[in-house]
């Protein structure tokens, strides 16, 4: 390679369509993963409030275990174990479960931040338990969790390239494939990095704004 043309704009433009296609998969994985994480995270947070130790103890262990082991290894584990399920679906599921363990903490904090007076008022009004949760506690708690949700969405977005390990063609694997075919890695890999920055930085600014507004 001659030093004059380390960066080739033609290659950079040639790889862009592939990368944008990958970006669609990346965003898809983030959105679906986040939906799973938000629902499962809430269920975990609610289950953690049961009075019996026999539910909380094991659940606590599972949550800690998932949270403290590498996402990458979990992805490959699930992929090798569940051969019949398409890799993309496994990616959604594992991302969702991994982040659900983080989201459950966000929900827990959100629920605990609801003033005790709200509970007492609901009791005084003789509202049934289900109605108290649905109409009083959760709407307030979920407002508290929105910034956390946004932050984790940004963070999950940046972790979707791990899906390359289970053959999902997201943005990073698209670049990798292009590089393997043309033997030029400089442009694709650099462009992927910049595309990540281009999406994640404005989003995190937006989340920060939301945080300050809701605070």
């Amino acid at each position: 390679m001659n030093d004059e043309s380390i960066w080739d704009w033609d290659t950079a433009w040639a790889v862009l369509p592939d990368l944008l296609q990958g970006l669609v998969v990346t965003v898809e994985a983030t959105v679906i993963g986040m939906i799973i994480a938000s629902i499962l995270g809430l269920l975990i947070a609610l289950a953690m409030r049961t009075p019996t130790r026999w539910v909380r103890g094991p659940l606590r262990f599972v949550v800690d275990f998932v949270r403290m082991t590498p996402l990458l290894v979990q992805l490959v584990f699930a992929w090798l174990l569940l051969v019949d399920i398409p890799p993309l679906a496994i990616g959604f599921g594992v991302l969702g479960v991994h982040y659900a363990t983080y989201m459950s903490e966000v929900y827990r904090a959100g629920i605990e931040a609801v003033p005790p007076g709200q509970w007492e008022a609901a009791t005084a009004l003789n509202l049934p338990r289900g109605r108290t949760w649905r109409a009083i506690i959760l709407p307030q708690a979920i407002k508290n969790t929105l910034p956390g949700l946004g932050n984790y969405a940004v963070s999950m977005f940046k972790e979707t390239p791990f899906l390359f390990a289970i053959t999902v063609v997201e943005m990073y694997s698209a670049a990798q494939r292009f590089g393997a075919n043309t033997f030029s890695y400089i442009e694709p890999l650099t462009m992927v990095g910049l595309l990540f920055l281009l999406v994640s930085y404005p989003t995190s600014l937006l989340v920060r704004r939301m945080e300050i507004r809701l605070a």
């Binding site: 082991t69 290894v73 932050n151 990540f196 995190s204």
Partner: protein, 248 residues
């Protein structure tokens, strides 16, 4: 199952080296990250735009581009510009820069959370800047940042599993070999995940201990119960923690 166990026992000699590689990456990456975090964290607080601007750009750059991209960029692209590093060095540099950028936000936020009166009191005592920071402000900020740094350390450990793809023989590599030998995914990956969990748990204890020590030095410590030391604190996400410490 007994065959699995036999294969496991046969592969145990490799495990030592694999754990060592993972630990080297984690400790090396964390040390580099701490240096980067301190430099950028203080840099992002200075009044001079010429220092603050670049610090912010570097922080946002490494936070915004994914760790996966960074590690592979350093491994595949950088050599083409003439900088060739060993795989282990690539892993340590990538982990250090990425988590260092996250850590910089923690450092900046924690220092911003130390009450201004502490700075003023130190100025009134005619302490120089370095003296002020080292003796008055940093010890207080350190206690605040430790829980968040503990979370980053665990994330760094988890990120180190990527090193397998740049030819390093770490715990994930060992797990993959075991899977190939036993053809039993559940067994091999189960054990691999447990090893990661144990390492993470030990690191968490260490960080809990450091936190207790930091608090005791400030006279805020209580003798922790065994449960506090052995327990896992719910993780405060690095991204969530950033704004709590004050507005940029």
């Amino acid at each position: 199952m007994s065959d699995d166990l036999q294969t496991l026992i046969d592969s145990l000699p490799d495990l030592g080296g694999a754990v060592l590689v993972t630990l080297e990456m984690t400790v090396g990456g964390a040390a580099l990250a701490m240096i980067v975090a301190l430099v950028l964290g203080f840099g992002a607080r200075t009044r001079s735009l010429w220092v603050r601007g670049p610090s912010r750009v570097v922080i946002e750059f490494f936070r915004g581009t994914s760790l996966v991209v960074q590690i592979f960029w350093l491994f595949y692209v950088l050599p083409q510009f003439g900088f060739k590093m060993e795989a282990l060095a690539v892993a340590i540099v990538a982990l250090g820069l990425n988590y260092g950028a996250y850590g910089a936000e923690v450092v900046r936020g924690s220092i911003a959370s130390v009450p201004t009166s502490q700075w003023e009191a130190a100025t009134a005592l005619n302490l120089g800047w370095a003296h002020k920071v080292r003796r008055v402000v940093f010890p207080q900020a350190w206690a605040l940042m430790l829980p968040q740094l503990a979370n980053l350390l665990i994330q760094l450990l988890k990120g180190s599993a990527l090193a397998f793809y740049i030819t390093l023989h770490d715990v994930y590599w060992w797990t993959d070999e075991l899977q190939r030998d036993t053809r039993d995914t559940f067994f091999s990956f189960g054990i691999g995940l447990i090893i990661y969990f144990v390492i993470a748990y030990i690191l968490t204890w260490g960080m809990n201990w450091l936190e207790e020590r930091a608090k005791r030095r400030l006279g805020r410590g209580t003798r922790p119960r065994l449960r506090d030391v052995l327990g896992l604190k719910p993780g405060v996400p690095s991204e969530v923690a950033r704004v709590k410490g004050g507005v940029a």
